[in-house]
Amino acid sequence: MNGKNISWFGRVSLGLGFAFLYVPILILIVYSFNASKLVTVLAGFSTQWYSVLFNDDAVISSFGLSLKIALLSSTMSVVLGTIAGLVLARFGPFRGKGLFAGMISAPMVMPEVIVGLSMLLLFVELQQWFGFPAERGVLTIWVGHVTLCMAYVTVVIRSRLVEMDRSIEEAAMDLGVRPLKIFFLITLPIIAPAIASSFLLAFTLSIDDLVITAFLSGPGSTTLPQLIFSRVRLGLNPEINALATITVLVVATLVVGANRVMVKAEQRRTRLAVAT
């Protein structure tokens, strides 16, 4: 239905667009293999910054912490977000639904400094009243990340549920399956791909978060983005180029892989849709 070929105008805009998007990243990668300590001078090929990186204990330990927080918060946010998506897509109207939907979508656009500061003040007050949480650290960061990530998970799950043919759940009920069981037997397997992609989404959000983390972390808990930020503030640093290169390659592999899987799933679904 749409044009078979891309017009010259389209080619030019895509070309310029992709150049804008990719040139900075390519330069970043090139300089990670630079022998010079100066990130602005090219001086031969070297992998020394990678060995510096792998021997940097601060990087290794902060990466470990980030990974731990990302796994914990994406797991929790998928649980909460799936429930919230179900509530919004399937429970029909109830009192306070508007506020609920608002609280779900607000964290996605709200500047992170606002979210970070307000959550910090909550924890400070809680500590004064109840003596808990005693100090800021993994727990408080986790709460912050879950709150942010569950919003995204909810949106993904909710829209998947809204587009899903409801008669499939009704058919299960018609065949004698009870409501709670329908969720685990029918709904959950069908939305499993959406759950998986929202988990990945939550994971990347969490492992990449700097601002909310900065407000909610304590002295002993420095995540990888915090470490990078503190180094980068001091200026260019080839070790960070090496780290960035690894990040880019890992993410690219994952995204391309996930995209292939999704395209295949999509093809299956459209084939089904055509057949019915």
Binding site: E170, M173, D174, L185, T276
Partner: protein, 376 residues
């Protein structure tokens, strides 16, 4: 399992009602979608609810399935009041319009799901699934996933799944609506045969009159939440009880007028759209002078160059338009009163003489018994 391969004679409803819908009302807010429906269906009947979209037929079906609760009224199946039973507690199964096959399960798993809920032993489940697959000739595809099947195959799996639990009542929601036309016609009779073979009472909902007339032994016409007429397909077509039914089922010529002569075995209706009063060969329950509608099916209208000799039901006009459809043609004849009358004339009519052409003066006519008087 096979109980009967013969329908109860259409319209007789001799056996005691198996399903009773008693004064059922469904409101969504201020909107009354189903308005005081009463309906009785006998065992092994195939009943079709026919109406255009939004007439309330689907809501009625969903109330039978338990997906909606009636605002008031009762539903009784085989002597048991099921009005407030949850869908998963009813001995009723439904074939959904989209088929609603579970995409993550194989054909066999789809069919077995309902049986598993009843806690049947594994062996019996396997046997019954096998038998169902046999019945719909899908044995080869038992281990396929739904997306690997064609539309027709999916429909058969959906049917097998809804029959597997041996429901007391089978509900079909636009059963063949998702298939293309050619396949649909072929599948209609196949489906009826299967339902007969199993011997299950069946209610279907459709907006396709051809589907309803081919498959059902009784049809209920629904409009704006009300059941207007319940009758066999033939009766609906030949003896509609109201203007809506007459216009909804097939094509018709409709004239508005009033009764000028009211005898037990005939009536005469005066209409401004025809030159002289029309004689109709059946009595009505009504009064002299009451406004009525007159319905004459196009295939009952004759077209001729000569003035008809017998009877007074004729009018003269000119051919306004001709739609040539091969086996027959539709003549649109404009009468002197301005009314356009459609006449469906078989090609064999024009063996002796050439068919009239555009703007040719002709006469249209019909017999006493060909017109129906509609009082509402």
């Amino acid at each position: 399992m096979v109980e009967s391969s013969v329908h109860p004679a259409a319209g007789t409803a001799a056996s005691k009602p198996y399903l009773q819908i008693v004064d059922v009302v469904k409101k969504f807010g201020d909107n009354t979608v189903v308005n005081h429906i009463n309906l009785s269906i006998s065992k092994n009947d195939i009943f079709a609810l026919l109406g255009s979209s939004g007439c309330g037929k689907s809501t009625l079906l969903r109330m039978l399935a338990g997906m909606e609760t009636p605002t008031s009224g009762r539903i009784i199946l085989d002597g048991e009041d099921i009005t407030h039973l949850a869908p998963y507690e009813r001995p009723i199964n439904m074939m959904f319009q989209s088929y609603a096959l579970f995409p993550h399960m194989t054909v066999a798993q789809n069919i077995a799901l309902g049986l598993k809920q009843d806690g049947l032993p594994r062996k019996e489940i396997d046997e019954r699934v096998e038998r169902m697959l046999d019945l719909v000739q899908m044995k080869k595809y038992a281990h396929r996933k739904p997306f690997q099947l064609s539309g027709g195959q999916q429909q058969r799996v959906a049917l097998a799944r809804s029959l597997a639990k041996r429901p007391k009542l089978l509900l079909l929601d636009e059963p063949l609506g998702a298939l293309d036309k050619k396949l649909r016609q072929q599948t209609q009779l196949e489906l009826v045969n299967l339902i007969d073979q199993v011997g299950v009472t069946c209610i279907m909902v459709t907006h396709d009159q051809e589907e309803a007339m081919t498959m059902a032994c009784r049809i209920g016409i629904m409009s704006e939440g009300q059941l207007l007429q319940i009758a066999s397909p033939g009766e609906l077509y030949e003896r509609p009880n109201c203007r809506f039914t007459a216009e909804f089922i097939g094509e018709t010529n409709m004239f508005g007028g009033h009764v000028v002569e009211d005898e037990p075995d005939y009536v005469r209706v005066q209409t401004t759209e025809l030159p002289r009063p029309v004689r109709v060969g059946h009595g009505i329950t009504g009064t002299l002078g009451m406004p009525v509608w007159l319905s004459v099916r196009p295939e009952r209208v004759g077209v001729s160059r000569q003035q008809p000799t017998a009877g007074g039901n004729w009018a003269n006009g000119t051919v306004h338009d001709i739609a040539y459809l091969g086996g027959f043609s539709i003549f649109h004849v404009r009468l002197d009163t301005g009314k356009v009358v459609k006449a469906s004339v078989p090609a064999t009519r024009w063996r002796e003489e050439a068919a009239p052409t555009w703007n040719e003066p002709v006469f249209v006519s019909w017999a006493d018994t060909d017109a129906v008087v509609l009082t509402q």
